[in-house]
Each structure stands twice: as structure tokens, then as C-alpha cells.
Symmetry: D2
Subunit: 379 residues, 4 copies
């Protein structure tokens, strides 16, 4: 099975790491560390091989992937020793990147959904792919303003026929993906497929979608630790955290509107396992000097027996691209599996990957992993 | 159902916190925070009420519980405001404490197993208890020296008949507990019931036992986090930790022989989920100034995609007595349940509580919790 | 020499800790830990004895000091065992507290400066004090709006004569202090004496003043560590920090206007030793659950030789009242020394105590300490 | 002034970083970050230019510097982009490396002192150097066993004449350095010049020496922070720390005998400013995975006013070679200054650089810096 992966934000750090990393794994230069689908739990599940994935995508940026890869190597994200070996794959993917729909106000709407869908379909045909999975790894958008045109597919298409630009870019891509017959994954906290009209479209086209907002660092740890406190009947009183990010992600999230999406999504990770009365402080700050790296510090106060006060702190120092890229690969393969087994609408068993998962899902990371492996083993 | 809890080390910090805490919960002065068995998952399981527990035990120390409670209040473990209200319960429990078998070399062997068993049986009769659960919360012993007399009950009893002192104190208590018809729990890393001869005795008497070495702090966090790395296919390279302990626990563990038991037990927590090639550094140090408090710092190095190096650190600042006491209560209640439902030998579903669990058990904390609640809900 | 200490915010946590603590030290129940002026360096300097200090002050709050002290004992700031012994001193100080000028918008202006000055003078006469030092430990105010009436004493008094309320409360107190012939200390980041008109008044009355914004935790550490990086020629690239505060201080600083004063003052601590090109992130957040306690986490990125990137993190867990109170005592004694030796205007050698010191001062903590002890030893 | 730097351990990580770094600075590829002597404070002091330093040394290792530099580039210590530019300098320095005296028991004594001295003298003549400064950056030795032959130069030379191997390797190098007319610096905690016989030799030859054990990370921070607690009259109760080191340094210090020297030296940093009653825990552990990197975690408990308990923690993540190399450069230049200005024996004003400084020195880092800059500015 030959599967294409169409990346929205195809020239960003994560996308570049995905393309370079798959090439490095393919030629044996690197082990598939972080690729969840390589665990023995997934051995019985017919997934497309990592080496069979083909890449293309949309982006508003024009810096070629080869240049981006060099910068990532300087920043310590890509090992310099793989650059030569992955060059051809980067060039090939770069040739399949088309101009995108801007996510930033004021930079113009970009191509209409029909053009976006045609771009994806053309990619599928050129490479004779069995399936293309669209994954949004572009910059985070502000939360969508509620709008009656989002309530149903009919209302949405009426508004679009009137020439109205009623969808945020991430949702325009989701619309285009579904119209092109492709599953769609929101790797970011943007709106994406998360509108009644788009859910309706996905179901009518019998297409699965998943998201949103991959948990790659602080939230991953939170989703592993919050159940620990709950299961031990310890009373968490406050959970405060600060995220220091460099690079493009930091710059985007320095915009309070975009940060709002991220903060909302982050706060959901604790509410489910611990209940609503935990005081939360969440900050996301740009520290340009940190480049591609991210440091999160979390501070938890909790009560033990007889109300004795205790504290827990952690510091996570990670590279988001090196954490996110293998998840993108796993998600593309698992969505191909969902499609192949006839699932449509939100794919809840993928909650393991997300802060704010679609569908009805367990809250703790371990329960989510159990649900994922059970789902993968069923078909 | 009226259940007795017979504490080995009945005048220690944990035991004092157990007795004072149960009294405080009983009279409504404190919520049962940290009592796992109060979670809704256990609602369908007929457990003895917290207020119905009656306490006694063995100890080589003579400082009365009321005095110990005052010191714990000064150290911030017990709230000063509950002291008056729990006074009668402390006095009552203190009256049920009998001289114990020394765990420290050189302080004499103490009472023989028959006397120990008679002490427990007398307690049961005086209070007309349906069951007494014996829980070892005494100081950690050095690892037991392998000995052919431990291989079978017959061999053991032959040696004992010859007047040989072949059992370490914790195992002498386990023998006495089983002879008195009582389930036994090893809350510490000591040998306790963990000998073939004692397993044979427990099974022949149709008695359950559980242990060993409760995970209350650093190891608890490790068992919640190690599966996270494994499930995300991240490669953990090293896991280093240091534990700073004050008080009696610190003093005991400053003895390298006793620390050996603890360190062995601690290192097991990682090996199962992460495999054997993780570099481990584990220190336990006494810092007398820390009193009843414990601080653990852990440092983890791991690889993400393409071998990118990342790190994770945490600091746990807890009060072991306030973490351990509610687990003792939960274990007494759950062992009563195991006994009532006819289980004997090692109770593997209690692995959730221990670093080095008896029986065949899952490794991750969440899987252990699932196993525990499933077990509790079955009967 | 009998010296009075007139506390603005006399019923707050710091003031209560000052009064209770001096009483405890006086009767031998506690050592003067944290009292800088007890160090041998100050042995040659004729300072008033701690036991000779007499307390009064202004406050808009009415909860008596005895009640406040009980709450601080519950919060772990005051040892419960001293409460009885310090009761009389708390009652005596409480009897010397007069209604204050509100620092919060909307709660009315409170007494005029003449009344405030009369309150202070009355206290001095009743107790036949040689001197009264006024120390502002009230809640932080927003930064003062620049105003031409602040430019000279004549302009200020003209405006006041016209019935205009041109001074923020902290400055009204400073005006009253100077009019009553008292040295004045700004322990907070509020405006206080920091206006040309008030500096003019202090000099004309031959009165010293000091401030502002005591460094008690994170900033203290910063002022000790920033010079280390500078002296080792290491290049600090970013310094990010978050402060989690409970209690009243947290509530006040949750107001962005008040926090602005604090943040401005905090950022000054780094600029001097490290230069202006260090990226800084500073957060102050309220976490009500933390009560009287404060936790600060700081994260520093810096370059070594050949541009190698390194990081440093620290976590400070302190109790602001227990850190600030002994500094208030030291400042009252040192200001008495400044007055006795005829100094007027800003007292620069007290920079050791402050984030944003008055006068020309060294930047590093150690240099400031050297300047302080040299000054104290000169007279 | 043309100065040679003769490195004992000339093929180790620090030495390689010194040679490569000086070459990179010389050709403008890197700024002299971390070079203390480049600070404006030293502008008036006639130091040899960085670019005028010439390198040679002793080592028992044979891996060429170019190979070592490649490995350091892989480990992130040297930027890959400078390797080509510094190649010639590495080759030149490598040609000046002579076989050394083994520091590890069992690997043979190596050349006698006369040969070692002749090696150094030959280097000076070949390059027509005004002075050669010998700096010991070899692996840490165990503490020297006290020996009457060390008590005077006469006794020492008698023993040597009898063919006895009475000196540890670091001291054999110090002897050779002095006999060759060279100042000597102990960058490690080894014995080096720290014997009465060698002090006598240095003074008789009118040669200065300095050391020992450079403070580059945890100890640097300790020496900046301990005075802060002392100056604020806060009572430090315990100071616990753990150092995780990879690479060769970690392997050496995994040997308890070698670690003993390091631990003794480390504990001295706190004793002076804080007094002897601070509980100390110090660990040094090898974590091979950490490569050239080092992480230290320190945990401090201290009392504030009224005995309120507080804590401070820090985590230092540094690269020892990138921290140590610029100090080696600074020390070579400053020792040249000491020599030029006629100083002999221990140079106390260099205490700023060391954990266990020779001569009478101030304890706090800031006082040491003041002493250093005053000394440098005097001549």
C-alpha cells in the first residue's frame, strides 16, 4: 500500500524533520525512535511501511526544504551526518509543495478550497498513491469565532457559494482534504475539521479525521502524571506551568490570540482526570535564544493524608520537532489503517496522541494507549 | 466486619500516623485523602469501614504513641489541631503494643514466634475481631542471606525446633502471622513472607500475603512515567536519582546493608518497562535536618527521533508518613477482602502499591491500577 | 536609644511577623535569624537594640494583630509555641495602629497628610521615643502617573493647598513621615519618597530615606548570581522566571497595574550586571493555595567558550514574611544610625536590601554588602 | 611577549578545547567567551595576547589532537564549522606532545623528572619563548599519602637520588616544571605543587605556582551563593549535591580513590563561608551517556526568621571543557604576569579560579574577583 502524506505547513520544522527523518530511516541511517507504530503492539496491524510514504504539501513559505534542513542541523535537530543522504528526498518533496492558504491575518486568503483539493488530487495521481493523508502541522491559529454558517454542510456551502471567507485556513484545508477524498489530522490546536459542517462532510464522504493538538512534551507528562495523583486519591490543589519556546512556534504563540487556542487545549489535559477545582497557571513564552528547543517547568501542590502539603516539580527539555515528527508518521500510518478498515468521522482511539482529542476518549495516557493498541489489534 | 490491624513497628512514624489519622477521619476532623479504597472504583467491594479498624502491634521502642504524635505534629506530619481529639485512640492502641523482635543486629532476638503469634491472637480475642491483618512497617532490614532452611516449611520448622534463629525478624513476624491465622503485608523491602517456606505455610493455612516495599514517592512517579517513555517509543538512556531523607528512615538507610534492600527494590521499577540497558544511578542519603520529609530528584536522558538528546528532571518533596499511612489503611482493608473471598498465597493485583510486587503483575502504574480495580470489582 | 518603628500596612503579614518576631527574640524564644545587623560586621556600629524597638502604624484593615498572628501560625510562618509569649506585645502594637490611607482605588482617600503626621508624632510622644522610623510594608501600588505637581516641593504643596489629591498613598505617607521628622523606608516597589518634591522635603528636613522593593527571594538570588556570570565572562542569553505566590501579596499582584511596578523593579536587577541584551521573561502569578509561601523558578541560558550553550535553573521556595521581617528590623536600626550620624536624602549604602535602590549603588550583592558594612563601620 | 603553555594531559578534552579554541579566536571565528582576562578590568595589565600563546605538553594517550577534536565536535563541544580552520594549529601542537608520566597505578612510571624538564626546556628553545607556563589538566589522582620525604627539598632529592618513586605524577610534573624554570598551575585536585618540598623549590627558583581544582560548575555556583546566605544571616542547615558526568572525567571519578580528592576539595567551598555545622552530601557519578556534559543538582535547606524552614535547589547543565578551557587560557596569561612582576610561591589572588586555593584567600566568589582585579591592576 503506497500512501502519500500531504503536510499543511510543509516547509516548517516538523514537516522538514518528517521528510528528512523518513529518508534517514529508509536508508538505515537512523532507527525509528519515537515511532509509536514500530512497537510490537502494532505488529499485527497492516500499516503502510515507513519507507513507502511519499510527501507533498502546502505552505506559504518559499525557503526550500534543503535550506530548512541545513538550519535544523545547525540547531541540533537533524544530525549533520544525514544531510547528504537525505538530499534527494528533500528535493523530491519540495517539488510537491504548492502555495498555501495563509494562517496569518492580513497576508491574504490564498488559494480557494477547490484549488487546494486539486493540488492534493494531482499529487495522488502523479504518484499513483492508494491514499493521501492530510496532516496540518502549520502555525497555530486563533480560536474560530462561532458562526451559524459552520452549523451544517449546507449552510457552509451556501456561504462559500456567496464568496464568503467563512472558514479559518485550517478548516479550509480540512474541507479541501475531504473533498479530495482524504483523511485529515489536526496536529495543532487550530479549528481544522472541528466544525459540525466538516464533521458532516467527513461522514458523508466516509472519511476519518483525528486531532487535535499533539501532546509532545509538558502535556504528555501531565497526561501520564495526573492519573497517578487521582489513582492514589491525592488531592491536587494547584498545577502551574511555564513553557519557554524558541523559534517559529514561540513567535506564533507570542501572539495572545494564537496562544488562546493552545492554552485552552492545554488546560483540558488536567480537567478530566483531576476535576475542575485545581488552580491552574499556564504560560507560553517566546525565548528566541532557545531556537528549536523547548523547556517546560511545572509545579504541582497536593495534599496527602491529614491535609499534609507536598509539592512536585518537573522540567522537560525537549526538541518539539524531534518529538512531533515521529508522531506525524505514526498518525499517517494509523489513519491509513482507519480508512482501510472503513472508519469515518472522528477516530477516538487516537486520543493517545492529542491534548484535545475528537470523540469520546479515556483521559489518562495509559488508558489511551490501551485503547489505541486494542483498536489497532482488532482489525 | 470488625478488622484488626497489627502493625510491626507500631510506634514508628507511619504507624502513629495510621492510628492518629484513622481516629481523625472517624471523628470527621479530616477527609480520607490518599485512601485509595475510598475512590468510587471500590464502591461495589464490601470492605471494612475505616472507622471499624482496631489497632495493635509489636515494637521494640517504648516511647508512647501520644508522645510520638506530638513530635509528628511539631514536624508538620500531624495537624496540631487533631491531637486532643485522637488522644484516646492513641492511648488505646498503645495499650495493645507488645515487645517486638529486634531488626537491628546486636539488640537481641526478642520473643520467639510462638509468643509473637500468641500476642496477635490475644488481641483478636480481646476485641472479638473477625480478622487481624498484620502489616510490617518496621525499619528496613538487610537482604536475607540465602539458606537451605528457607526452602520448605519442613526444613524451616526442623531448624526452628533445633533452636536455630534462621529467620530475619520480618520473616519471624510473617511466620507468626500465618500461624495466628492472619494475612500479612510487607510494607518495607525486608524479606518478610518472601521465602518458599513461608509461601508454603501461607498457602497451607489458606492465607493471602502481599508486598513488598510500598511505592510512596520517587518510585511511584517512576512507575507512572517509565511507561510513558516506552509507549511513545522514546529511548531512555539513563535514569539517575537521589533521595534525601531525614528522620529514622534516613538513619536506617544510612546503613549500607539496609540500603541494599531498598536500592535493589527501587531499581526493579524501571527495568520492567524500559528494559535492562538503561544506566541507573540511585542514592539514598540521610539529611537529618529534613525530619519527616523526603526530597527526591531524578534526571532522565532520552533520545527522540534521529537520536536527538533530551532530558527530563523531577523533584518530589513529600512526607513519607502522610503518603504511606493511607496506603496501610487501604492494604488492610483490601487484604481483608482477599481473605473474605478465599484467596491465599501472593495477591498479585495489589502490585499497584509496591515496588517489588509478589506474583505476576503488570509493570506500569496505570495497568496496575486497572488490575486492582478489576480485581476489587469482581467479587 | 529608644526607637519607634511605624509600619504602613501594620496589620499585614510582614508587619505581624515583625512585631511577633521581635517579641520572641526579646524573650529568648527565638534567635535573630535573618537579622543582618546581628552579624559581627555591625558590632562596632551603635544600633538600637532589637528589644528596644516599639511598634505602631497605619492600616486600613481592622483584623487585630493577635488574630493575624494565629493565622500566620496556621500557615507555618509563626511557630505556634511562641503565640502565648508574644500576645502582650501584639496587643500593645495593635493599640498603636491608626486608620490608614487606602492604596486601592475606590476605597476612599483616608486621612490627610496632616492627620497621618500627627498620628506618628503622637506615637513618638506617648512612648518618649528618640526617633520614629516609618517603613512602608503595605500592598504594592501601580506606578505613579508622571505629574508636574511632583516636580518641586512648592508645586506639590500648592496643589495640596488647592485640595488636590496628587500623591499616591505611599507618597502621602512619605510626606507625612518627613513632616513628622521621621526617616522613611519603601520596602515595596510603590512610589513612596521617590519624587523630586519629596526628595527636596527630606533634604530640607535633614532626613534620610531608603528603598525600594526589598529583595527577599528570586531577586536576591539573581543579584548574587548575575555577577558570577559577568565575572566569568560567560554570555547570558536569556533569563526567564516565574513567581508563584499565595496570600495577599499574590492577590495584589494579580492586578496587572500593581504587578507593573513589581516587574519593572525586578527586571532592573539583571540589567546592570549583564547589560541590556539579555532576553527576559518575568511572571508573577497568584496561586491561592500556596498561602504565605512563594516559589520562584528561574531558567538561564548562557554561552561558554566557542559558543557552547548551557543552562542553569533554580527553584526558590520561601516564606516572604519570614524573609522580609528581619530585613525590616535591620532597616529600622540602620536608618536610625543614618539619622544619628546626620545623613539626609537617599541612603545609597542600603542598596544591599533593595531591587531598585535609591542613590548611586553597586549592582552585585557582594559589592553591595561590602558597601553596607564599610558604611556601617565608618561612623 | 611570547608565552608557551605546556599542558599535562595535552590530548584530553580540556587541552584539545584550549588549542582549538585559541586557534578559532585567533582567526576571528569565535569570540573569547569565558576568557576572564578579556574583561575591561584587565585592560591595564600587560598580558600576553591570546594569539601569541604556543602549545605543547605531556600525555600518555596517543590519539592525535585532530581526532580528539573531531570527537569533541560530535559531542557538541567544538562547533563543526571551525574544524578546518584550526587543523594546522592542532597538528602543530600535537607535534609538541611528549610521552607523559602515568597517573594511573600499574601503567608504569613514565619518564623521570629530568626527562620531563628537558622536554619542556626543548619546547621553550625551539619556539624561542620568553616563558613556558605548565598547567596540569590531566586526570584526577588519589590524595597523596603523607610521606617524610615530602617535608623538605633536601629530603625529597635524597629520596629521588636513591631511585625512589616518592612523588605522585602531578608532583613529578611540578618538580620538572620548577627545575625547567616554569610557573606551574594545578587545574585539578591532584597534589601537584602542594608539598613543602615543592613549595621550597618554587621559592628558591623564584617561580610562582597556583591551584588547585578549578571551579567550573557546581562549585562555582556554590561559591557565589553561599556568601548570599551568610550575608543575609540565613542559617543554612544542609547542602546536598549530586554531579552526573559522562566521558573520561566521569570514568576517572568513578574510582573512589580519585573521587576522594575531588570530594574533599568540593566540601571546602562551603565550609569557609557557612561554618562547619552544615550537613553536606556530595556525590559524583558517571553516566556514560552524558558524554562531555555534566549536570549537577544541589538542594539547600535553610532557616529564616523564627526558624521557618525554606529550600533552594539548582540544576547546572554545563560542558566542562567549554567552561575550563578559557580558564586555562586566563591562568596561563595571569601566571605570565605573576612571573613578569617577580612573584614567587603560591599566588593567592588567583583564588577566584579554584575550589581549594593556595595561600590566604577570601572565600566568596565576589571577594575573590575583587582581589584578582585589584592584584592585576596594581602592577
Amino acid at each position: 500500500m503506497k500512501v502519500g502524506v500531504w503536510l499543511i505547513g510543509a516547509r516548517g520544522s516538523i514537516a522538514t524533520t518528517v521528510v528528512a527523518g523518513v529518508a534517514a530511516v529508509k536508508c538505515g541511517l537512523s532507527a525509528p525512535v519515537g515511532c509509536v507504530t514500530e512497537l510490537p503492539f502494532f505488529a499485527g496491524c497492516a500499516l503502510p511501511a515507513i519507507g513507502d510514504l511519499v510527501f507533498g504539501g502546502h505552505d506559504i513559505a518559499v525557503t526550500p526544504l534543503t535550506k530548512r534542513a541545513e538550519r535544523l542541523a545547525e540547531g541540533g535537530v537533524l544530525p549533520a551526518r544525514i544531510l547528504d543522504a537525505v538530499l534527494d528526498d528533500l528535493v523530491a518533496a519540495d517539488a510537491e509543495i504548492r502555495p498555501g492558504a495563509a494562517s496569518v491575518a492580513g497576508s491574504g486568503p490564498g488559494p480557494d478550497p477547490a484549488t487546494l483539493a486539486a493540488d492534493i488530487a494531482g499529487f495522488r495521481e502523479r504518484h499513483r498513491l492508494d491514499l493521501v493523508v492530510v496532516v496540518n502541522v502549520a502555525s497555530t491559529e486563533p480560536p474560530a469565532v462561532p458562526c451559524p454558517d459552520h452549523a451544517s454542510l449546507a449552510a457552509l456551502e451556501d456561504a462559500m457559494a456567496d464568496g464568503l471567507s467563512v472558514l479559518p485556513p485550517s478548516s479550509r484545508y480540512a474541507y479541501a482534504a475531504f473533498r479530495a477524498g482524504c483523511p485529515y489530522v489536526d496536529f495543532t490546536p487550530s479549528t481544522g475539521a472541528r466544525l459540525p459542517a466538516l464533521d458532516e462532510l467527513a461522514r458523508s464522504e466516509r472519511l476519518p479525521y483525528a486531532g487535535r493538538d499533539a501532546k509532545t512534551g509538558e502535556s504528555l507528562v501531565k497526561s501520564a502524571l495526573a492519573p497517578m495523583f487521582a489513582q492514589r486519591a491525592l488531592r491536587v490543589r494547584s498545577w502551574s506551568g511555564i513553557n519557554l519556546l524558541g523559534g517559529g512556534d514561540g513567535a506564533t504563540l507570542a501572539d495572545p490570540a494564537a496562544a488562546a487556542s493552545k492554552l485552552a487545549s492545554k488546560s483540558r489535559v488536567l480537567a478530566a482526570p483531576l476535576g475542575g477545582d485545581v488552580e491552574q497557571v499556564i504560560h507560553i513564552d517566546q525565548v528566541a535564544d532557545m531556537g528549536e528547543w523547548k523547556t517546560a517547568w511545572d509545579h504541582v501542590t497536593f495534599d496527602g493524608f491529614l491535609g499534609v502539603r507536598m509539592t512536585f516539580q518537573f522540567t522537560w527539555q525537549g526538541c518539539d520537532s524531534a518529538l512531533g515528527a515521529p508522531l506525524v508518521i505514526a498518525l499517517a500510518r494509523l489513519m491509513s489503517h482507519a480508512y482501510a478498515t472503513g472508519q469515518s468521522g472522528p477516530v477516538a482511539p487516537l486520543a493517545f496522541f492529542f491534548k484535545d482529542p475528537v470523540g469520546e476518549a479515556a483521559h489518562g495516557l495509559a488508558e489511551q494507549f490501551a485503547a489505541l493498541t486494542q483498536w489497532a489489534g482488532q482489525q
